[in-house]
Symmetry: C2
Subunit: 410 residues, 2 copies
């Protein structure tokens, strides 16, 4: 409990609540922090880990970084490796994303995973356990005892079950046992808090019920928002290949971060970086999303590789994009005279730039080109015909497949 000594309980609560989507029961975090203080013990903060994953990505890092905040305040991260279900797979053969793994494979996975975990977590305040150690030993009678604590109706209310039932897709009986496994983990490790993505709400609340039945104080449930993948549509995940891994080289991280849609910039800044609130606010509806995105990409790379590596990644990105897309020789366009700086706009109006480059015969033709997605600067597509941009000196303006211009900005 040394870490939090300098801060009041209320200050601690504010730190811990930042970026959290939901706390259940609401308002219970501060009382729990007081209990830990008065009992002079660290809180046990549980996080379930799927051992079939091999890379930690920014989406999962959202939760891990919250866990690290707890550690920095003196609490214990209790990681529960879900080796039990991973060692069974899905016997109904329905889920392709749940391969059957041996204990040895799982331990190998977890070992390589640990190195990534400790890029975020403090190993000295981390406990790792495997739920197979208690679940695999349970007999049929124990399972019946466990299953007697929940009704079928309540279990089938879980969002994804309810949706499948509505779509007349099967929910197998063993699937109704998995949330109970996860809840039993909380009983076993005596969790004070369980962290998770917001899609874990139901499962984490099962833990509360089972703990209550076992005579324990039910865990507080803290849910983090889900980070959308680089495609801007689905939850970030390895299987959809829309992820940014924390162990990837800075150039990869930077490039992938540059590929996210503009609407996601603020969410990424908030969930995946340490950007201050003002920067996040400024990024919302920024007039110059490319600059905001470049700043985000640098922040991501810096978080896992340091500021210097991030700067190099940014330079590498710009030069690669230029090299990959642009011919060696191209006309230069001095865009500096086009810069507006009045109360309303700041930068160069993209329509004016296209017209000045001679890529379109009229403003409306330029507008069409932009709206068709045919226009980019340094590989960054611009689809908003009202956008005002501030390209770097030497940036490459491109229209269609073959028309290029190097922008001079001074």
């Amino acid at each position: 409990m040394d870490g939090g000594r300098a801060l009041t309980i209320e200050q601690q609560r504010k730190i811990l609540e930042r970026g959290v989507e939901e706390i259940l029961p609401a308002g219970e975090l501060e009382p729990l922090l007081r209990i830990a203080q008065s009992e002079n013990r660290p809180l046990r903060v549980k996080l379930g880990i799927d051992p079939t994953a091999s890379d930690i990505h920014l989406g999962f890092a959202v939760v891990l970084r919250k866990l690290r905040q707890f550690q920095d305040l003196g609490h214990t991260a209790c990681l529960v490796i879900g080796d039990f279900t991973a060692s069974i797979g899905d016997p109904s053969g329905r889920s392709k994303t749940r391969p059957v793994l041996s204990r040895a494979e799982i331990e190998r996975n977890v070992h390589s995973y640990e190195q990534q975990l400790y890029r975020i977590l403090d190993p000295d305040r981390t406990e790792i356990s495997y739920n197979g150690d208690w679940l695999a030993e349970m007999r049929f009678a124990d399972v019946i005892q466990l299953a007697s604590q929940y009704t079928a109706a309540r279990m089938l209310e879980r969002d994804d079950f309810a949706k499948r039932i509505e779509d007349q897709q099967p929910v197998y009986i063993h699937e109704t046992l998995y949330p109970l496994c996860q809840g039993q983990d909380s009983v076993q490790i005596r969790a004070d808090i369980e962290l998770g993505g917001s899609d874990q709400k139901f499962n984490n609340l099962v833990g509360r019920d089972l703990q209550r039945n076992a005579g324990q104080r039910p865990q507080l449930v803290m849910l983090m928002p889900l980070l959308v993948g680089t495609d801007g549509v689905e939850k970030m995940s390895k299987s959809l290949d829309n992820y940014i891994g924390i162990d990837e080289p800075p150039e990869e991280q930077f490039g992938k971060a540059m590929s996210i849609p503009d609407e996601q910039i603020a969410a990424y800044l908030e969930l995946a970086t340490d950007a201050p609130p003002e920067e996040i606010e400024a990024a919302r509806g920024a007039q110059n999303p490319m600059a905001a995105k470049t700043a985000l990409a640098k922040r991501v790379a810096a978080l896992y590789h340091g500021r210097e590596a991030a700067e190099r990644a940014a330079e590498h990105f710009a030069s690669t994009v230029r090299r990959r897309e642009a011919p060696d020789e191209m006309p230069e366009l001095n865009a500096a005279p086009l810069i507006e700086d009045n109360g309303k706009n700041k930068g160069v109006w993209i329509v004016k730039l296209i017209a000045a480059a001679g890529f379109a015969e009229s403003n409306s033709a330029a507008r069409r080109l932009i709206q068709q997605g045919a226009v980019s600067i340094d590989g960054e597509r611009i689809t908003d015909a009202n956008a005002h941009v501030s390209p770097a000196d030497g940036a490459v303006l491109k229209a269609g497949k073959r028309r290029f211009a190097r922008l001079v900005m001074k």
Copy 2:
């Protein structure tokens, strides 16, 4: 396979199908009998036994007597004692009829039970096993494998589950595991056929599915009708105290059989005795239900205690009823001259009897008395004013609470 040698397969099928409510799949019994013949082996006919019961009653005997027919044709009765669930009870505390029993208690129960079983079954063709021997050993992973074979939707279609869900009563998840236990029993003992009451249809069909998944030929399911209890309303059961135990003294059996409603006489004859089809047919809408019921009661007592004991029970019943209800002294009424015997009626018209005894001033007053339920002969109430009766010599006619006459019938 010696027992059935004298009979053709078709004759065997006819015997085995008698009194059966449903066979699933329909028409599969005969092919199965042929398979047993060609493989020169007895069929394994499974029956699940609840070890919390202590008395076998006529309702359960319906199934046991069918099982005995299989034994008489050379097949093996495979009794599976459900000690597994009995040793767990109902952890949700919902079911009061499922007490927790130790293995020792269960074995004591089953031992005293066996003596009753062997009043019906042939011990030489009976195998007894305890499902705890395989179910109790199953680990959580095995349970998941088992549960992966059924969807929640399909399980919750079971009549009693569906009804509870409709009534917004809880169905606990462990309850969805019990039919799977019963199905696993069929896999374990490699049942060819499972017998059961018609309320076991769903559970027995689960066995078919699990056997098919296990690479076995799915069992044939044979369902027997449920015998209504002596109250004429509910299924016969110990807990409702509407049962006739096969181990009860003949006088008890006789008296209880005499208490059933007239509408149940034919069903009892069919399901609980060896009465030939003609007698059952004649009992349907008999003009003289008292005589039919007396014959039924004698058949029941004779089945479990012999013909002589049954006759004594009948005499005991008549004399007890007379002693219990009638005063020592009462007027005599010679009813012999009132006997009709034409094509339409046989016996004494009850209205005429009441009038002759002076218990009513007119035929219509007599009719009213009868319809009010105020008239009985030897304790047997007569409510049909058109009934013709054939009382025993010395029988007691009673109207209301205080008017008695001893009938002379010769």
